[in-house]
């Protein structure tokens, strides 16, 4: 007797099964970062939000969590900017148009953009922390009237490590953009120094500003400190955390930080809620 099997659905598939996506475009951003645009081979994941991430699977190599860096206003392809630094990310960055990778997600929460509406919006990115903020920039550009002043403050290791340099120049026409690098050679005519140095001179009203910060954890700690010193309330500073993530759905515990699981409860957290945990070295 034949048994009627239910149709394969996203629910039946479960969050642990990657869906095949084809690389439709690949762009080199700098010496070790590439942006991949992906389209579903058949079934698509749910729409991804700004700040959320997917688990990208290089078949036979492994999975990594990567935030979306695309223009979600425009829709279409799934866009991820990836730094080739480990085995999986190097394999993903070595893909060509037409290759297939696996995608699970989207996972995590989104940037609280509504909390910034009607206020000054400050986006502070360090290193590869700019890609997770790029969807917010696109949103802000598409809805410019929803915000007052908008500042993008970006710090990189060296000029060669900066991402989206042409886009940063384009954004300058409509947003305040300030860039610095930690170290530079003779050819660089911009600022040298850490990203926190961009905060005191930035044009925004600290009492009525919302800040989104992404970068290495130590950079976010120093940045939050500088924002607090400038007068931004702790409850209006948001950071995006990165820890080792494996399952993406709060089961494996790899990304546990005290009482919170970053893949499930984050990666976006309010500074006053997360800061006490970051002060505990054992975590």
């Amino acid at each position: 007797m034949a048994i009627a099997l239910p149709e394969r659905s996203a629910v039946a598939r479960g969050a642990m099964t990657p869906l095949p996506y084809r690389v439709v475009r690949k762009r080199r951003e700098n010496h070790d970062n590439w942006t991949l645009e992906l389209e579903p081979v058949a079934e698509a994941i749910e729409p991804i939000g700004p700040g959320q991430f997917t688990m990208l699977y290089s078949f036979g190599v492994g999975e990594v969590p990567i935030s979306t860096s695309g223009d979600l206003e425009r829709g279409g392809t799934l866009v991820h900017t990836i730094r080739a630094v480990g085995a999986v990310t190097k394999a993903l960055c070595a893909t060509k148009a037409g290759d297939v990778v696996g995608v699970r997600g989207p996972f995590g929460n989104t940037w609280p953009i509504a909390a910034a509406e009607g206020r000054d919006l400050l986006l502070v990115g360090g290193g590869v922390g700019l890609p997770p903020l790029r969807p917010v920039v696109y949103h802000a550009l598409a809805h410019r009237e929803d915000f007052r002043r908008i500042a993008v403050l970006y710090g990189g290791r060296t000029p060669d490590d900066l991402l989206f340099r042409r886009e940063l120049d384009r954004w300058r026409g409509r947003l305040d953009v300030d860039v610095t690098v930690d170290a530079a050679g003779a050819g660089w005519t911009g600022k040298v120094g850490v990203v926190t140095k961009l905060i005191p001179p930035a044009a925004f009203d600290p009492a009525d500003a919302v800040a989104f910060v992404v970068g290495p954890e130590i950079m976010m700690r120093f940045t939050a400190r500088a924002l607090l010193e400038r007068g931004v309330p702790a409850e209006r500073i948001w950071i995006s955390m990165e820890r080792t993530m494996r399952c993406g759905v709060g089961l494996c515990g790899h990304c546990q930080l005290g009482p919170t699981l970053i893949c499930r409860d984050g990666p976006v957290y309010r500074w006053d809620e997360l800061a006490p945990l970051l002060e505990v070295p054992e975590l």
Partner: protein
């Protein structure tokens, strides 16, 4: 047209000084404009001045063999450029090159040191303020040394 008192009080280092102290400090300053490419001071030279940058950008550099002049940090509007005037041996530890045309208040460090010695209250207050500024720069230097954007594998 702003007076020097009004200009220098915009810097966090001088903000909050009482009017009498501000007048004393401003008495050691003058407005200057310096073109891009010029040097404000050179490593090893006597350090008897410092600058409060109002506009523009200054690169603090040192010479590294086989690499040439290397920028350690840049200084922009609202920031103090130069601390070597404050402590012996009063010689510049770095070279300051103007990257973007600068308008600044240039202070006579020897004049200010003399006023601080004559008025220990002012001297302590100013030293505390400069110490805070130096601590900020030290922290920035720590962050640069840590190399927060260094390689991580995943």
């Amino acid at each position: 047209m702003h007076t020097l008192d009004e200009l220098i009080v915009q810097s966090p280092v001088f903000d909050g000084l009482d009017p009498e102290q501000l007048e004393l400090v401003a008495g050691c300053g003058k407005n200057v404009a310096v073109d891009a490419g010029k040097r404000l001071f050179r490593e090893g030279d006597p350090a008897d001045t410092f600058f409060l940058v109002r506009h523009g950008l200054v690169a603090l550099e040192t010479y590294v063999p086989n690499r040439g002049q290397v920028t350690v940090v840049t200084v922009g509007p609202g920031e103090i450029c130069g601390w070597s005037w404050l402590v012996p041996p009063h010689r510049w530890r770095l070279t300051a090159r103007v990257v973007e045309p600068v308008r600044a208040v240039e202070f006579d460090g020897a004049c200010l040191r003399r006023k601080c010695e004559e008025d220990p209250v002012l001297g302590y207050d100013l030293l505390s303020r400069f110490a805070g500024d130096l601590a900020d720069h030290l922290q920035s230097a720590y962050m640069q040394v840590i190399d927060v954007y260094g390689d991580r594998t995943s």
